[in-house]
């Protein structure tokens, strides 16, 4: 199993959080708010495509709205593999944090 990059992990988490609203614009807005600077479309879209190809998320076309010029949204959803990857990543990070804190204390 491949390891996630930091950005990919962040995006996976955002997809999981936003649920039915997890499409590119919303994901970008959500991440930009938390990271604290405006991310470019590419900064979100490219990792998004990559993890989609890896099967960590799946996509479906949602409803279209006038704001979007009548174009449909591409809505992403976490897959089981995605969830597993997140959990694995968290396990590793937690463990590393725990070790680090142990030494610090």
């Amino acid at each position: 199993m491949e390891y996630l990059s930091q950005r990919e992990e962040q995006i996976l988490l955002a997809v999981g959080y936003l649920r039915e609203e997890a499409y590119l614009v919303a994901l970008r807005k959500h991440l930009s708010k938390i990271v604290g600077k405006e991310l470019s479309i590419g900064a979100v879209h490219i990792p998004l495509r990559r993890i989609e190809k890896q099967g960590l998320i799946t996509a479906s076309l949602g409803e279209s709205t006038a704001v979007r010029g009548g174009r449909r949204k591409k809505i992403y959803r976490l897959t089981a593999a995605g969830l597993a990857a997140l959990k694995e990543s968290k396990r590793i990070t937690d463990r590393l944090w725990a070790d680090y804190l142990k030494v610090k204390a």
Partner: protein, 862 residues
Amino acid sequence: MKTERDSRPRLGRRILWFLLPDDERESLVGDFDEIYREKIKDKGKLVALLWYWSQVILLIPSSIKESIYWSVLMFRNYLKIAVRNLIRHKGFSILNITGLAIGMVCTILILFWVQHELSFDRYHKNGKNIYRILQHIQYSEIVTWAINQGPLGPALKEEIPEIEEQARFCFSQWRMKYDDQVFVELGGYTDPSLFKMFTIPFIKGDPETALADPRSLVLTEEVARKIFGNEDPIGKTIHVGSDYDFKVTGILQNIPDNSHFRFKFLANMDVAKEVGRTVDSWKNSHFTTYVQLAENVSMEEANKKIYNFLDAKPTLEDWEKLSLQPLFKIHLGSGIGYDAFGTGNTKYIVIFLAAALFILLIACINFMNLSTARSLLRSREVGLRKVVGAFRGQLIRQFLGEAIFQSLIAMILAVGLGMLLLPAFNQLARKNFSAHLFWRPDIILGLVAILLFAGFIAGFYPAFVLSKFRPVSVLKGTTGTVGGRSFFRKALVVFQFSVAVILMVGSLLIYSQIHFMRNKDLGYDKENLVTLALNTIVQQNYETFRNELLGNADILNITRVAGLPTDGYYFSNSRWNWEGKDPDKDILFRANFVDYDYLETLKAPIVMGRNYSKDYGADATGIIINKTSQKAMGFEDPIGKSVTLGEGGENVSQFQIIGVVKDFHYVSLRTEIEPMILLFAPEQCSSIMVRISSENTPETLKFMGGVWKKYAGDFEFDYHFLDESLDTLYRGEQQVGRIINVFTLLSVFISCLGLFGLASFMALRRTKEIGVRKVLGASISGVVVLLTKEFSKWVIVANLIAWPLSYFALNQWLQEFPYRTDIKLWIFIGTGLLTFVIAILTVSYQALRAALSNPADSLRYE
């Protein structure tokens, strides 16, 4: 809502749509729009607009990378499918590729020929500043000649500062003797400045001094090798004619094939004077004159200066003007008389190029027809590709690519075939091309252009048709619309056969014109006439020579003459005057110097008056005119009328008309009979003409050879039959005829390949129908007729279209000849029948096979 929509940058969105990957186009463009809208709200329209466009621009590099990646991936798939299709349908692939390859070979070879014609004289480094001087003289109409008076060149150089250099050239045939061996070669007299102006590389010797001495001689490598073998020729002495010795001072590289001038040796102009050429007279034109203009002088400027140059010179005619002809245009120039070296013919270049392209087009049409006819076979693939997301543009590109792929294979074949056929082509076109030509960059560029052209023409329409299939109906299996395209297909077959018919009619007509010219009654008997060059030794003892020859019963007559019908070399002049001549009308007369018996030997009948005869002593002032002259002079009864030549004082000669000869063709049939005057002047003659009987020809020739040897010593007995020499005058037409013939065969062959393919496909498609018909009692012949009927209809239509077209085109071509054959009906009918029979034979093989098949086989699975 509407206005808001319109506020978005439409162009930007369009570009985005184009740049983004296919699968996410929709959602991403939507995303961009949404963010854009938000930005307008937050930061204003300008910022939003800037942002949108910066995003578009940022996308470009990555999208290019993506598209290349994917197209490489798809290309591999396309290639695989193309190869599989090629292999699975071997028969059709062979038909397609052979046709294309043959068309390409034709085009390539003609391309060689065209580039050769266009490359004439381009190798001269100073070429763009070199011009030939043309002379225009006003007779009843203005004639243009490529020869000038001897003093013209030097005078031009002296008096016109824009002219930097000049060189004259004049042909001469030399009899060279070295080491007791005799060589007869064609070369010329020239000024040493020729080497300065033109790029004529020396192998040995110094261009500056090679022709400085009047007794020096420059040979081409070819002749030097012939005469001296492996000896070093420099400094060797060659005996020329009877009294001259020349020292070889230079060896030239052989003159390239694409040079308008050709010679085997060069001697100094001073020699021309010595041997009796009129070099210093303003009254005689013998010389081709070349001038080189200063670097910054334009042709127009120089033309203005030389136009009236001859007005101040003591020339023969009142109205003689000069103009410049660029060196590069000499070879393809036309309508110029006395062009010593002969020219190419632009018209034939166009005809050949058109014919080659049409053959290529016929081959392309085969591809189109077979591909669209068989499109059903690939409809499933198209359907599936569309279902998994192929766009029409991609499919068009795929099929176009396949056509180009096949045309690439055809091109490789064509290049190989071309190399094999080059020697045959050289023979056919009398050219000397080497296979190295294939690797020249400009030719390679041409080959690629032909390849792409053929691929595109062949593949465009099938790609268009194939990509149109609707996946739903294809995959459901309900496509029945293939036949709907057949009108276009029929039109294409009709076009193919029309081209074939036009070419066929053309080649038949060219042959019938050549046949006509060879067999037309020339007004004299051209059979059994032997010509010999008259030299000074025989001239001195002519009477005894003549009497000895006449001792043989098979030698009927013998005469001397200056101009032969084959060389067309006549003394042209408009200074003839007679009583009652319209002073405003200049008429050009051709004059020929003859001996007694000239007309008897030719068997050209006298219609009025008498012939030259020894019984009347003073015939030196008697002239015989032809019927056209009589008409031109306007004499009812010309006998005894006096005619003068020249104007003013001592220069005038007096003549009396003693006879009128029936018009005969004293030049080739390409020229109309013009007024001619025969002058009695045996001492001016340069040829001997002998009439022999039609029997015992070999013995007679042997006898003549013996007598010749006795009188002429080591002058070769170089005889020609007049009728054979006349035939060579039409060599140009014969050559064109042969090439068009080959084209015709090929066009018919390729058209039949296509027809064969279509027929086999039709038979395949109607297998079941034929099975049912047979079961219901149709006869074999009935089925064959059924299948061939349609194809024959197309061929008939093609003939009906092609006949008028070829009639007009060929009528145009025939206008070039003053004496021409009628366009006969049988040519058209014959061509029609022939194409019809060929087409039926081609189709009936397939039809028979289909008709003979057992219906049980074809219906078994129903």
